[in-house]
């Protein structure tokens, strides 16, 4: 148990934070910027796909099947898959940020796609009909009827994706991506367990904060008119909001 004390002591030493080459501030920045970039890319790619197949119903079976296989790839597997490819394509530039951000984006897309799709599908067909009957154009139906109603489910997908990305960013250290995982992986290698435990505490806090921040956002973004009661749905394979631990 004294290892926890050593971990806390490591965190409490300001010199460990400010080291410009291997400090906690540097690694934290790498962790957050890598995660933010990957999440932005995952949303930019996954959200339009999910909304489109949810609205039209076209290509849904194929896209969801691909997303489900994507979910069966272990988090570490994405880094493993991407890294030899970027290394061959880019040489030394294929280490670090580039393979990490590609792998994390790939990991983050499936929950966003499946949830956006499921959220749009769940929208009452009568509502959509009513919108059309009122003379709304197709794009307005999507923007003003379907998306607002589906928003809780869509945001839940983004939350799951964000937490997975932040968690898995830890593993980017093995391909030279830095991040807080660097302390853990290098630390295990050289048996500096104070660093390992200290960084693990930070990573855990960061992931929990991400979860809380997105839950809060979810709650705030939901229109009070459609806020649901405490009903919990079972978690179904290939279904909605499958949270997955990663990294």
């Amino acid at each position: 148990m004294e290892l926890f004390g050593q971990g806390i002591a490591w965190l409490a030493d300001p010199a460990n934070w400010t080291d410009p080459r291997n400090g906690i501030f540097l690694r934290l920045w790498e962790h957050v910027s890598l995660s933010a970039a990957a999440l932005a890319a995952a949303i930019a790619i996954g959200l339009p796909i999910g909304l489109w197949i949810g609205h039209t119903g076209r290509g849904a079976t194929a896209v969801i099947a691909i997303a489900n296989i994507g979910r069966a790839v272990p988090s570490i597997g994405w880094l493993g898959i991407v890294f030899p490819l970027t290394l061959v394509a880019l040489g030394r530039g294929g280490l670090g940020f580039v393979p990490s951000v590609i792998a994390l984006t790939a990991l983050g897309i499936p929950p966003i796609v499946t949830n956006a799709y499921a959220g749009m599908r769940e929208v009452d067909a009568d509502l959509v009909e009513a919108g059309r009957g009122m003379g709304m154009r197709e794009l307005d139906v999507v923007r003003q009827v379907e998306i607002p109603v589906a928003l809780p489910v869509i945001l839940a997908g983004i939350r799951v994706s964000a937490v997975q990305i932040v968690a898995t960013a830890t593993l980017a250290a093995i391909v030279g991506g830095g991040t807080l995982g660097d302390f853990i992986i290098q630390g295990i290698f050289v048996r500096a367990l104070d660093r390992v435990v200290g960084a693990a505490i930070l990573v855990a806090i960061l992931a929990i904060l991400t979860e809380l921040a997105f839950s809060l956002l979810e709650r705030r973004a939901i229109s009070p008119g459609i806020r649901r009661g405490g009903q919990t749905a079972p978690i179904e394979p290939g279904g909605v909001a499958l949270p997955r631990v990663a990294g």
Partner: protein, 220 residues
């Protein structure tokens, strides 16, 4: 990675079939052990949550917090308690199964229609017999749905245990793959992980259909 190193070297795969098989075996054992232990604990917690309703909130709060902790961090944080051992790996993997399993078991049992329970009571079933012979079978599809997700998740997580000296297929992905710039080992490890997840999922689906033959007509 050496220049000209191909992505897949089939000769390496053939020469190392027994090592690959051994890692696959370790992987399967860790998944099975963790999911079984996790299911036993979750079942107990779910029964507790149903008999003492106020415990459900705290159980879900604790298990979802555990769930948000990245696996590498959780493995590491358990080292001070259980050391660099198989126990550390299994404990963490079990903790990750709890949220999904407890939640699905509780929702499944809550979802048994009251008229079914009443009919069973009317037929003379005592509470215990009613639970085993009526409520549990009716709840089975949703419980197995939870097991499927927990199992697929665990298949991916076992790979991370390679950082604490275990790993199963994770050893192929990290230690002999990424660390040595050897793509063949990486791709073999990842591919087997995916195959294992899909096969496990199909096996559980098959099990569910065997356990609930009456549900076949409803498609799921």
């Amino acid at each position: 990675m050496n220049a000209g190193e191909p992505f897949i070297r089939f000769d390496w795969i053939i020469d190392n079939l027994d090592q690959i098989g051994q890692r696959l075996g370790e992987h399967v054992l860790m998944v099975v052990a963790s999911v079984l232990i996790g299911f036993a604990i979750s079942f107990g917690l779910a029964l507790l949550a149903r008999s003492h309703r106020w415990t459900y909130g705290p159980i879900i709060a604790v298990t979802s917090t555990l769930y948000a902790i990245p696996s590498l961090a959780l493995f590491v944080l358990l080292i001070p308690i259980t050391g660099l051992s198989l126990t550390t790996g299994i404990v963490a993997l079990v903790l990750y199964t709890l949220l999904i399993l407890v939640r699905n078991i509780v929702v499944a049992l809550d979802g048994v229609p009251p008229e079914v329970v009443e009919a069973a009571t009317g037929m003379g079933y005592g509470p215990l017999q009613r639970f085993w012979r009526v409520e549990l079978p009716v709840a089975t599809p949703v419980i197995v749905a939870g097991l499927r997700i927990a199992t697929v998740t665990t298949v991916g997580l076992v790979a991370i245990t390679t950082f604490i000296g275990l790993g199963g297929l994770g050893y192929l992905i990290i230690n002999s793959g990424t660390r040595r710039f050897f793509p063949t080992s990486i791709y073999v490890g990842v591919a087997l992980c995916v195959v294992l997840a899909v096969v496990a999922d199909l096996l559980l689906l098959w099990l569910q259909r065997r356990l609930t033959p009456w549900a076949a007509a409803q498609g799921r």
